[in-house]
């Protein structure tokens, strides 16, 4: 077992699991008065290699195969378990980490140990090599299952839902003029799309497009909303604000054209690249605006392989 114990995951589990998690509670015991002749039968029918000896609820010894063999060799005379048992019993407590059991197995070369309840010293079970292996495997399987469920749940959401059409809607509220928080929605969307298992290139493009739109909102408007609708075929993003509106949309789309106030430039923005960047990242884009009322930017990013080329259109 030693090579396995050295493996970090097994060791970790060995500390996490306790002896009580892997022990066998089916107690087979004998008493000190039990005749040795009965021992062979008990060992065989229960397929064990050692039997704890109990005297008035207390563990007083263990009689195992070796003891039986020695008794047979010595003539198999009429005597009780008490005379042939090992009195120096190596035991474990229920609350000890399983790694102690593993170590003791190595150390002593026994195949089994009695397990006692720490509070009253009562025998409550036995721990064997098979029990340890079973306990570890069971825990590994539980961990694996939990991880699988967590992962599966997020990325297969569309396949699991039973409907003619399934879509997820994420809404983000954006406060205008707040440059410390600007970009939070784009960042949140990016993490969300990643969890959904969206292709990384699509995530990047969507995140950049939303970021640029969000920045425009923060620079020009008092407040606004970003609504992202995700379905298996595409991501639809709508950014709406109640800002000043865009008088000349065509001009605004030109790279380098900007109506941003000067102080915005000192924050690294307002260079007039925003709308153009969005256009390069998305498959379809629509800007509508009414001066004095607000602006709405609609964008579509296709997510099905057949309907989109992954290259960002144009160059930097």
């Amino acid at each position: 077992m030693t090579p396995y114990v050295k493996a970090p995951k097994i060791r970790e589990l060995g500390y996490e699991l306790k002896v009580r998690d892997a022990m066998d509670r089916n107690l087979i015991t004998v008493q000190p008065e039990t005749p040795m002749s009965k021992v062979r039968g008990v060992l065989r029918s229960n397929r064990i290699s050692g039997i704890p000896v109990i005297d008035k609820n207390k563990l007083v010894g263990v009689v195992c195969v070796e003891d039986l063999v020695n008794w047979l060799r010595a003539g198999a005379d009429n005597c009780s378990v008490e005379e042939k048992m090992s009195k120096n019993v190596v035991t474990l407590y229920t609350d000890e980490p399983l790694i102690h059991a593993i170590n003791k197995l190595e150390q002593y070369g026994f195949f089994h140990f009695p397990v006692l309840e720490r509070s009253n010293g009562e025998l409550v079970g036995t721990i064997t090599r098979e029990g340890i292996i079973r306990g570890l495997l069971k825990k590994l399987e539980i961990d694996y299952r939990e991880e699988e469920i967590r992962h599966y749940r997020a990325s297969h959401v569309f396949e699991d839902m039973i409907a003619d059409k399934t879509s997820l809607i994420f809404q983000y509220y954006v406060a205008g003029q707040d440059f410390n928080r600007a970009g939070e929605s784009a960042s949140a969307l990016k993490k969300t799309l990643k969890r959904l298992g969206t292709h990384p290139e699509i995530v990047r493009r969507a995140a950049i497009a939303v970021y640029e739109a969000e920045m425009n909102l923060v620079i020009f408007a008092r407040s606004g909303e970003i609504i992202v609708k995700v379905d298996p075929n595409q991501i639809r993003i709508e950014v709406e604000d109640s800002g000043p509106g865009i008088p000349d949309i065509e001009k605004a789309m030109q790279p380098g054209y900007s109506t941003a106030p000067n102080w915005v430039r000192e924050l690294g923005f307002g260079a007039g690249m925003g709308l153009n960047n969005i256009k390069k990242c998305v498959d379809e884009m629509n800007v509508t605006s009414t001066v004095g009322k607000g602006t709405r930017v609609e964008m579509y990013v296709a997510t099905k392989k057949e309907s989109v080329s992954y290259e960002v259109k144009g160059t930097g």
């Binding site: 440059f179 410390n180 600007a182 970009g183 939070e184 784009a186 960042s187 990016k190 990047r204 995140a207 950049i208 970021y211 640029e212 920045m215 924050l267 690294g268 923005f269 260079a271 007039g272 690249m273 925003g274 153009n276 960047n277 390069k280 960002v312 160059t315 930097g316």
Partner: protein, 121 residues
């Protein structure tokens, strides 16, 4: 070239992060965030050199997937900038050189900018 070597060349201080073994394949020297975003090549293995110490620098780096930023003229970023960098696992460095000097020195070491990196592909 890895970040540790770049840190040496720029005689820079490490402000946030510890992943100096990160490999850097190209440099983006820019103060305008929109332009950083439109440079598609930046992701995964580029270093952003900038004069701008505002938290937006880190947000842009996060969206563009740039793993490290170096500020110029010994400027120390604001607390919010540092917090965002820690949260998003972005390394922050600060050098006392100007953006011009820093760019010149790194260019001499053979690191490409976006244009040349594109051609190499």
């Amino acid at each position: 070239m890895n970040l540790a070597k770049i840190k040496e060349i720029l005689k820079a201080d490490l402000i946030v992060g510890s992943s100096l073994e990160r490999e850097i394949k190209m440099i983006c020297a820019c103060d305008l965030m929109s332009d950083v975003l439109s440079c598609v090549q930046t992701r995964f293995s580029s270093l952003l050199l900038t004069n701008l110490i505002h938290p937006q620098t880190v947000r842009t780096a996060e969206i563009a997937e740039i793993p490290a930023i170096c500020f110029m003229r010994g400027k120390e970023p604001q607390d919010l900038t540092m917090d965002l960098a820690k949260k998003n696992d972005i390394v922050l460095l600060s050098t006392s050189f100007s953006l011009y000097e820093a760019s010149g020195r790194l260019y001499e070491e053979g690191l490409p900018g976006c244009g040349e990196y594109r051609e190499a592909k």
